[in-house]
């Protein structure tokens, strides 16, 4: 077994330097709930581990000047749940993050890790796509931003360039009458991998949807932004015809695999069903008086 070096730098610049220098032998450690399992099973034998949890920017949840949120890449699901206002503004993102594994796993696992793991079935990703989150990354060539839906490249792969580290999510400010929701289909009641996952974010004014975004997970090689579903919702009062059209758009976007968790036909149908249910929850939250 090769020797493992553990580094826990205090600054992002140090982390980027160490990570880039170690090349393909290096792995980033945030919550470790994927990394340690992969090491234990022998899938991965990293030479260097760069723990990013001592870097304040990676661990912070802060409100931006325009009223949005910036969430560090290593913030755990439990830390996000304990934040006093995040879950009121983004209940769908929070419920998605808090479907990742058990309470023990949520004590460590981060939405950043969930995204970097590259699973098409990662629960937080469709909710982040629906939220319109922007991902900040930093590498040897400096910082750049990308849309969360452009981050995954395929199962287990991302569009991070060599040496780049994910730093944070930025979620936009919310106009009045906005909310979001996330639902997933699993054969059990808890602790399972999504067969289909749908995130919906809505803004509703006088009963009419003025903006919408739909994220769809576990039905394609990457999590999808379903623009046709959003278009079907925008301008509607979420009547049956609009919901049916949006559901059809979700089903049409599916390019799923057939496996023991769900067949292609099942996943395709459930994507539409979940869109309707998720949109209804988001709409109820958006129109509730605070």
């Amino acid at each position: 077994m090769t020797e493992l070096r553990y580094l826990a730098p205090d600054t992002l610049d140090e982390a980027v330097g160490a990570f880039a220098k170690a090349g393909s032998a290096a792995r980033i450690l945030a919550g470790g709930t994927d990394l340690l399992v992969q090491m234990r099973s022998g899938v991965l034998t990293p030479g260097v581990i760069v723990d990013i949890k001592k870097i304040p920017e990676m661990m912070g949840i802060e409100q931006t000047a325009d009223g949005g949120f910036r969430v560090g890449a290593a913030v755990s699901g439990m830390a996000l749940a304990e934040h006093k206002s995040f879950g009121k503004v983004w209940p769908g993102v929070l419920e998605a993050v808090n479907l990742i594994g058990s309470k023990q796993v949520q004590g460590r696992a981060s939405a950043g890790g969930n995204l970097c793991n590259g699973s098409p079935a990662g629960d937080s990703v469709p909710a982040m796509v629906a939220a319109g989150a922007i991902v900040t990354v930093q590498g040897p060539d400096g910082r750049r931003e990308m849309k969360v839906e452009d981050f995954p490249a395929g199962p287990g792969r991302t569009n991070l360039k060599p040496g780049e580290i994910m730093v944070s999510f930025t979620l936009p400010p919310r106009p009045p009458g906005s909310s979001d929701a996330y639902l997933r289909m699993i054969p059990r009641t808890e602790m399972d991998i999504a067969v289909v996952g749908v995130g919906v974010s809505l803004t509703i004014k006088d009963g009419t949807v003025t903006s919408a975004r739909v994220g769809l997970g576990a039905v394609a090689p990457t999590v999808l932004l379903v623009e046709d579903a959003a278009k079907a919702l925008i301008g509607s009062k979420l009547d049956d015809a609009a919901l049916a059209k949006a559901a059809s758009a979700c089903s049409a976007a599916c390019r799923p695999i057939d496996d023991k968790r769900g067949t292609i036909a099942y996943r395709t149908k459930v994507a539409g069903v979940l869109l309707k249910r998720t949109a209804a929850i988001a709409a109820k939250r958006a129109t509730q008086k605070n």
Partner: protein, 158 residues
């Protein structure tokens, strides 16, 4: 290779230990620290038998590197009883026979304690969801859930 020297706090006591960089916190607890109350069930974060707290947050010690304990506070099952006096959850688990083989029990207790500190009045559904990451292959869970509910009620009454 050189071992790493880690300074930490375990159950409120300052502690030091040596570990390999790839050792998990569970390896360190059961090895150099000789705190064998935390059990290894799956070593992949599925069973919860190794549950501990890290800065008061419930985690699986098999999913944490031992070197990460540096300057943090660890809580284990060994910190639950006060001397010879059992924690109310421990007492109740005995009274209602909420354990059989015992492998899951310390994890169940640490997880239940973390729940009651956060939410002193959980519903049965909340208890069941909170303990979804703790697997028990003996009891069928009913007695465990009942023990947590009854303890919560008694602790609230005090």
């Amino acid at each position: 290779m050189a071992k790493v020297h880690v300074t930490t706090s375990i159950n409120g006591e300052p502690m030091e230990f040596l570990c390999e960089p790839s050792d998990t916190m569970l390896d360190a607890l059961r090895g150099p620290l000789a705190l064998t109350g935390s059990k290894e069930g799956c070593a992949s974060g599925d069973c919860g038998a190794c549950s501990i707290t890290l800065d008061d947050r419930l985690i699986c010690s098999c999913l944490m590197l031992a070197v990460e304990a540096q300057d943090h506070e660890i809580g284990t099952i060994e910190g639950m009883a006060q001397g010879d006096k059992l924690h109310p959850l421990q007492q109740k688990f005995l009274e209602v026979a909420a354990l059989q083989c015992g492998i899951c029990t310390s994890g169940m207790l640490v997880a239940s304690d973390a729940l009651l500190k956060k939410n002193p009045e959980p519903s049965e559904e909340e208890v069941r969801f909170w303990l979804a990451g703790n697997l028990c292959r003996c009891t069928g869970y009913d007695k465990i859930v009942r023990a947590v509910m009854e303890t919560a009620a008694e602790m609230r009454a005090q």
